[in-house]
């Protein structure tokens, strides 16, 4: 059944060191990678890993790291995470290590485009609209 609201309290918070072990455990249960969401929360990144079970419901794991902390890549266990990890590395500047394929922050952005564009460093003044 579709469940839209996410209950933060139900999610497991995991330290970056324990991440690989946890993902390995999940992978052995036949869980596959769905996506990752990176959130820029003040001085920290909160990264949500979303997985899908064989029963098709979701598993969520959360990792909180400080902005200069390193995060191990899970692409050695679940290869298809590599695109999303590259994207997060590119857009947020999260220091993801041991990527299976490292695009060196040139997957979606070019040398001329703004670096780490999704960080909330900009002032809070919002412009209305502005689709492009």
């Amino acid at each position: 059944m579709q469940q839209v609201r996410v209950d933060r309290g139900a999610d497991a918070f995991i330290s970056p060191g324990a991440l690989l072990k946890e993902v390995e455990l999940l992978a052995s249960e036949g869980v596959r990678f769905t996506t990752m969401v990176c959130l820029d929360v003040d001085q920290e990144f909160e990264i949500i890993y979303l997985f899908q079970r064989l029963t098709l419901d979701m598993v969520r794991i959360r990792v909180r790291i400080s902005k200069d902390e390193e995060l191990p890549s899970i692409s050695s266990i679940l290869l298809d995470a590599v695109l999303m990890e590259n994207e997060i590395k590119e857009f947020f500047g999260v220091r993801i290590t041991n990527l299976a394929i490292d695009f060196q922050c040139r997957m979606l952005l070019s040398a001329k485009s703004p670096q780490t564009p999704l960080l909330k460093v900009r002032p809070q003044s919002q412009s209305l609209g502005g689709g492009e």
């Binding site: 412009s127 209305l128 609209g129 502005g130 689709g131």
Partner: protein, 114 residues
């Protein structure tokens, strides 16, 4: 192999589905959203349209000295969603079916309240 043949025969005898475009034009459907038509006489410059416009095609500018508000509409930024026409309390905006000729110069429509 010749599964496609029946289709080809049908196509050949039913005539082309395409049109010689500039000569023959297709009429848009009555509810098609094509062009935003604006009636400055009805407008109260409330600013709802400028707030709601997802493409920032409509902008309102306040001139505090002369107590005037000017409205600018950039039809090239407009995405023809018709949200402004729906929400306009005065019905000064209307999504019309009227099509327009392609233009080669960018035109921004201006109007100012009295």
């Amino acid at each position: 192999m010749p599964v496609m043949s029946t289709n080809l025969i049908k196509n050949f005898f039913s005539g082309p589905a395409t049109r010689p475009y500039p000569v023959v034009k297709r009429e848009p459907f009555p509810r098609a959203r094509v062009r935003l038509v604006y009636d400055p006489d009805k407008c109260t410059y409330c600013g709802i349209c400028a707030n709601i416009c997802p493409a920032a095609a409509i902008t309102m500018e306040e001139d505090r000295e002369n107590l005037r508000i000017s409205r600018h509409y950039d039809s090239f930024a407009c995405i023809s969603c018709g949200r402004c026409a729906e929400l306009c309390p005065q019905a000064a905006l209307l999504m019309a079916v009227r099509t327009h000729e392609p233009s080669d110069a960018k035109v921004v429509e201006h109007s100012t309240s009295r």
